[in-house]
């Protein structure tokens, strides 16, 4: 069953999603949102970084128009996710709903796993993975909004350790892509640029900027290989 495989393979995401969702629930309630408003934000927007920005800007008294523009700007990177996995997605009327769950992590998982699955399992796989991740995000938010302080008092280290599931998962998804010198240069430089930008506080801009710089290096390395450099695959 495709959906079971999808849900099982998305399970490592929970280690990253639940602690961050709990933090979001706590932050939103502290910023003045009600428990139901907080849960609705996670259910309907369902995009980590932009949700934190949304509540922070509202708490700071920013104009609503600016809140909307800035939040959408952070989510703009999502426009490349759908087209990148489109060749492996079957036609279905459910995509309007299912694409709501196309987060960074589900995209990373889908881009790596969908090409390896039989065509008839792909819709089920995506649905299982997406629904589990969405459910964990909403439940984590509710737990954080209702009992966040108690949870962090009981398990103070859990929120610090479990989010390492995300870099570990990204690493595993990326490892098979180091197939040539060109790809190694592009991927290595993208990781380094993203780390540097994050260290200097540009977390929100780091994903598109680092990916763009990696793409530039990819094409430069390819050009170099073609114009007399070392042959490359």
């Amino acid at each position: 069953m495709g959906w079971r495989t999808g849900a099982r393979e998305a399970t490592p995401l929970l280690g990253g999603y639940i602690p961050v969702a709990i933090s979001f629930g706590m932050v939103a309630v502290q910023a003045g949102f009600s428990v139901w408003q907080t849960i609705l934000i996670s259910t309907l927007i369902y995009a980590g970084a932009s949700q934190f920005l949304f509540v922070a800007m509202v708490a700071a008294g920013a104009p609503w128009g600016l809140v909307v523009v800035m939040t959408l700007l952070i989510n703009a990177r999502h426009v490349v996710y759908g087209p990148s996995i489109a060749p492996w997605l079957p036609k279905s009327r459910w995509w309007l709903f299912l694409s709501h769950g196309l987060t960074d992590q589900i995209f990373a998982l889908a881009l790596s796993r969908l090409p390896q699955l039989p065509a008839e399992q792909r819709l089920g796989w995506y649905s299982g993975a997406m629904l589990l991740a969405w459910f964990s995000w909403v439940v984590g938010t509710a737990a954080g909004a209702i009992a966040g302080e108690e949870l962090s008092r009981h398990w103070p280290l859990l929120g610090e350790i479990m989010p390492f599931a995300l870099p570990a998962l990204f690493l595993v998804l990326l490892a098979p892509r180091f197939t040539s010198r060109t790809w190694s240069i592009a991927l290595g430089s993208t990781i380094a640029v993203a780390m540097l930008l994050t260290l200097y506080g540009f977390t929100n801009a780091s994903i598109p900027l680092a990916a763009a710089s990696g793409a530039l290096l990819f094409y430069l390395a390819k050009l170099h290989a073609r114009t007399g450099g070392r042959p490359d695959g």
């Binding site: 099982r8 393979e9 399970t11 490592p12 003045g32 609705l40 309907l44 927007i45 369902y46 949304f54 509202v58 609503w64 809140v67 909307v68 959408l72 999502h78 426009v79 490349v80 996710y81 759908g82 087209p83 990148s84 489109a86 060749p87 995509w95 694409s99 709501h100 196309l102 992590q105 995209f107 881009l111 280290l157 350790i161 479990m162 989010p163 390492f164 599931a165 870099p167 570990a168 990204f170 690493l171 595993v172 990326l174 490892a175 592009a186 991927l187 993208t190 380094a192 993203a194 780390m195 930008l197 994050t198 260290l199 977390t203 780091s206 994903i207 680092a210 990916a211 990696g214 990819f218």
Partner: protein
């Protein structure tokens, strides 16, 4: 804040959904058209390059520890190496993540015990 909140929530939710759904829909139609014309249904080359690089960027962002200090960096290094070794051994998804989180957690715990914080 109520009216403004509901309108902003609606606009951000609808806008984010559009950014996820419309490009996917457009590419699905584009691929179908290519197929009907008898051509090879493929996404543009730059998009197949950008996809893995977006994952690499997410990895870079998530590798930077939330808490500063040598122990967090050492835990990150050890966690990443453990995940990589487990992947080389099992070629699976779940075990490397478990290995990475466990190694990372052990270092963080040991650092807490030794520093007494």
């Amino acid at each position: 804040m109520d009216n403004g909140f509901w309108l902003a929530l609606l606009l951000v939710s609808a806008g984010t959904l559009c950014m996820r759904f419309l490009p996917l829909r457009w590419m699905q139609r584009h691929l179908l058209k290519q197929k009907h014309k008898g051509g090879l249904a493929a996404i543009p080359g730059w998009l197949s390059v950008l996809g893995p690089l977006m994952i690499a960027a997410m990895l870079g962002v998530s590798l930077v520890p939330a808490a500063a200090g040598w122990s967090a960096w050492f835990a990150t290094l050890l966690g990443a190496l453990s995940a990589l070794m487990a992947w080389l051994w099992t070629k699976s998804l779940g075990w490397p993540v478990l290995a990475g989180v466990s190694s990372y957690g052990v270092v963080i715990l040991l650092a807490r015990i030794t520093t007494g914080s």
